[in-house]
Symmetry: C2
C-alpha cells in the first residue's frame, strides 16, 4: 500500500501498527552500529598471510634497505606494481602511508599555504570555493570545511556529477580550486562515472590555474559481483589533452588489505610530483617502507582480483540482505528508494523528504546507530533531509538484518508522522 | 706543531706535505658517504625479532582490532607503555607513525593556519620568529625556513642554550612562536641540557600565548657508554608551574627499532591534545596500529635499555675511532676541536674559522661526502664557517677510518691555505 494514497484514518492506523513493531525492537535492547564503512574482521583475516612473508630471516634489503630512512616517493618495487596496475608510469606515482585522506588534506594545505602551479598561496587569494557532488563522502567535506572553502553542491545522476554545471563553474570562476570525486562505486550512491563524464573532466579548462580534480578512486577494484564496471582512466585522458597537472588520482589498499595499515598512493603529473616532493622532503623522514615491501611481496602471491573476489563473497550477501529487508519492509509504501550498487561500500537511501533525521533518531533510540542524516552533504546539510547512507560491511550478518528492520520501521513511522 | 705558530715557509712546506697525502687518497677513488645520521644495517638487525611475534595465527585484536580504522591517539597498550617510560600519564601522550618530524611540521602548520591556544592563526599575525640554538639540526631549521619564520641563532654552551638570551627574547617579543631544542645528546654537539637550563625553560613566561617549546628528545636512551646522563623531564617541570601547554615533547623509535618504520610520539597537555585530535581526526583515518602493536609486543620481550646497550656496542667503537683518527691526524696543530659525546648520533667539529666549506669541498673531491658545512645553522649560514657535523653511525668501520683521514687532511690543507 502506498502510504501517500491512504486516507488519514488509514495512515493513523498504520502508524499505530508500526509503533507496536518498533516497541518490540526497543524492548530487545539492541546495541548495533551501522555508522561507518569499515571492513569486517572476516575481511581483515584475508590478508593475514602477509605476515608469513617476513621473519627474522627475511631479507628486507631489496632496491633499498626497507628498514632505514628515506625514499619519500616510496619503494620502486611497489611503485612499479601500482603504476602497472593503474596503467600509468611509475614516474607518475608516489606512495604514502595508509591514509589517502592524509595526502588529500596535505595537498589542500600545501596549495593554501604555499600555492601550486606558480600561483600565489591560496590563502592570499580571498574567498575559496570547492565543488561537491552530492550525495558524497563526509570526510571529504570535513576537510574543505575546515579550510574555509565555500562548498557548492553539484547534483549527481547515474552518469556522475552534472557536467554542465561543473564546466560552467570551473571555467568561469577562478575562486573554485577543486572538486571532490569518488568516480567508481561512488560513496554513497554507487554510481560509476560514464566515459563521457570522465572525458569532460579531462577536457576541463579551469579559470584557476591552481584548480585540481581530487579523484578519490577508493573503490577501483571493489566489485560485488565479480564484474568490473569499467571507468576511464582520468589521468591518461587528461594527459592526452596536456591537462595532467589538473589531476590528483588517489588509491589505497585500506579496503584491500588492512584499513588501518595499508598503503596509499597518488597518481599525478611528474611536474606536480616534483613540487610535492620538495615539501614532503621537509615534512617527513619517509614512509613506512617495510609495510610497502610487505604489500609488494603479498601481491606477488595473492593477485588483487582474486583477493577482491574473496572480499566480495563476504560482502555481497550483506548488500543483498539489506536490499531484501528493505524490499520486504518498505514494499510498495512509496516512502523510500535505494541504490543497488555493483561495488563499493554503501547503499544510498532516499527517504520521504523531511524524514531522514527523524528516522535516524528513532533508530538510535532503538539502539541502532546509522550514519547521521545530512552526513552525505557539505555542512551536514541535506536540503531535502532525505538521504541516508547505509554501511552494510562491518556488522555481522544477523545484526544487519535486525538493524535494517529497525531502520525500515523507523522510516515508516517518520513518513507516516510527516504525512498525517 | 701548532700551525698558527709556524713560519710562513714552514706552513708552505706542511701544505705541500698534506697535498701529497691528499693526492694518495684521491688516487684511491673513494666513494664514501658520511652525510646522514642513519643507523647501520647491523643496528637494524637488532629489531628483526619483532617480526617473529606475528604470524597468520597471531591475534591482532587486543584493546581494538589493530587492522581496522581508527584510534587517532594510538593504541592504549603502547600509549601506556611510553607514558610509563617517560613518567607522564597516557592522557598526555599521542602516538603517530614513524616520523616525529612529521608531527613537528604538522603542529607548526596548524598553529600558522588555524591558530593555537585561542590565538588568531599565526599567518594573520605578521612576522613570525623562531629561536634556534646553534649548532643544531638542519631538518628543524628547514621546516621553520619553509614556513617563513625569521630564525634567530641562540649560542649553546655545555649547559644548553644561552638562557638569558632565550628568556629575554621570549618574554618580550610576541612574534617569537617557538624554539627548537634537542635537549639530550644534542644534534650535533652532544650537549645534555643542565637541570638549571630545563627549569628555566619550564618557568618561561612567553609574551606570545601561542609560543611552544619543540623539545625533540630524539636521543633520550641513546647512551654510548651504558651511562645515562640524566635530563630533567621538561613536561613535568612545566606542569609543576602550570605551564604545560607550552611544551611539545617528542620521541620516536627511529633509532631504537627501525629508522623508516618505527613509532613516534608527542607528549603535551591534555588541552593541547584535545585541540590536535580535532584536526587529526579530519586529516587522517588513523595511524598504523599493527606497527604500534608489534612495537608493544617487541618491547615486552626486549627491554629498551638492553636493546640500546646492543646498539651502543655497535656504535661506541665508531665514535672512538673518529676521536682516535682526529687525535692522531690533527694532533696539536690547533686547527680543530671536536666533541666527545656520551650519547647521540654525532660528533661536532669546530674548524679554524673560515675553513669548514673548503674542507667539505676538498673531502668531496676526494670521494667522501660529509654533511654540508653550514647545515647546522639556520639558512645553512654558519657565520664563522667553522662547524662540521660528523655522522659516524652508518658507514662500516673500515670506511669510517679512511673517511676521517680524508676529512682531517682536507681540514689541514684548508687551514694552511687560510693561514698562508
Amino acid at each position: 500500500m502506498n502510504y501517500k494514497e491512504l486516507s488519514k484514518a488509514q495512515q493513523k492506523a498504520e502508524l499505530e501498527e508500526q509503533k507496536k513493531i518498533y516497541q518490540k525492537y526497543k524492548d530487545a535492547k539492541l546495541k548495533l552500529n551501522m555508522a561507518r564503512g569499515k571492513p569486517c574482521s572476516e575481511q581483515l583475516e584475508l590478508s593475514m598471510p602477509m605476515f608469513d612473508l617476513i621473519s627474522g630471516a627475511t631479507n628486507l634489503q631489496a632496491s633499498v634497505d626497507m628498514r632505514n630512512y628515506g625514499e619519500n616517493l616510496g619503494i620502486s618495487e611497489l611503485r612499479e606494481f601500482f603504476a602497472d596496475f593503474c596503467n600509468v608510469s611509475s614516474a607518475e606515482l608516489i606512495l604514502s602511508d595508509s591514509s589517502s585522506l592524509n595526502i588529500m588534506y596535505d595537498n589542500i594545505q600545501r596549495a593554501i599555504q604555499f600555492g601550486i602551479s606558480g600561483q600565489p598561496p591560496q590563502n592570499t587569494q580571498g574567498k575559496l570555493k570547492w565543488l561537491c557532488p552530492v550525495p558524497g563522502y563526509d570526510r571529504h567535506f570535513a576537510i574543505t570545511e575546515l579550510f574555509g572553502c565555500e562548498m557548492i553542491n553539484i547534483p549527481m545522476d547515474e552518469n556522475g556529477p552534472d557536467m554542465d554545471m561543473v564546466e560552467h563553474l570551473v571555467e568561469n570562476d577562478a575562486s573554485i580550486k577543486g572538486i571532490w570525486c569518488v568516480p567508481k562505486y561512488s560513496n554513497p550512491s554507487g554510481v560509476v562515472y560514464s566515459n563521457k563524464t570522465v572525458k569532460r573532466f579531462a577536457a576541463l579548462a579551469p579559470k584557476a590555474k591552481d584548480f585540481r580534480i581530487y579523484w578519490d578512486n577508493a573503490y577501483m577494484v571493489h566489485h560485488l559481483y565479480n564484474e568490473d564496471i569499467p571507468l576511464l582512466n582520468l589521468y591518461n585522458e587528461a594527459k592526452a589533452n596536456n591537462n595532467e597537472d589538473m589531476v590528483y588520482m588517489f588509491g589505497s589498499t585500506s579496503k584491500i588489505t588492512f584499513a588501518g595499515a595499508g598503503v596509499s598512493f597518488l597518481i599525478t603529473s611528474p611536474a606536480n610530483l616534483a613540487y610535492l616532493l620538495k615539501l614532503i622532503g621537509i615534512q617527513t623522514i619517509g614512509p613506512n617502507k617495510i609495510n610497502q615491501y610487505l604489500h609488494y611481496l603479498f601481491f606477488q602471491n595473492e593477485q588483487i582480483p582474486s583477493l577482491m573476489l574473496k572480499h566480495s563473497k563476504i560482502l555481497t550477501p550483506k548488500f543483498e540482505l539489506v536490499d531484501r529487508v528493505l524490499t520486504q519492509e518498505i514494499g510498495s509504501s512509496g516512502i523510500m528508494s535505494w541504490s543497488k550498487p555493483k561495488g563499493g561500500y554503501f547503499i544510498s537511501c532516499d527517504l520521504l523528504p523531511g524524514t531522514a533525521k527523524r528516522t535516524i533518531v528513532l533508530s538510535k533510540e532503538c539502539g541502532v546507530i546509522f550514519t547521521p542524516a545530512g552526513a552525505t552533504y557539505p555542512y551536514k546539510n541535506d536540503p531535502q533531509n532525505s538521504n541516508v547512507r547505509i554501511a552494510p560491511t562491518f556488522p555481522p550478518f544477523n545484526e544487519l538484518e535486525v538493524a535494517m528492520k529497525v531502520f525500515a520501521t523507523s522510516a515508516k513511522i517518520s513518513a507516516l508522522e510527516a504525512l498525517i
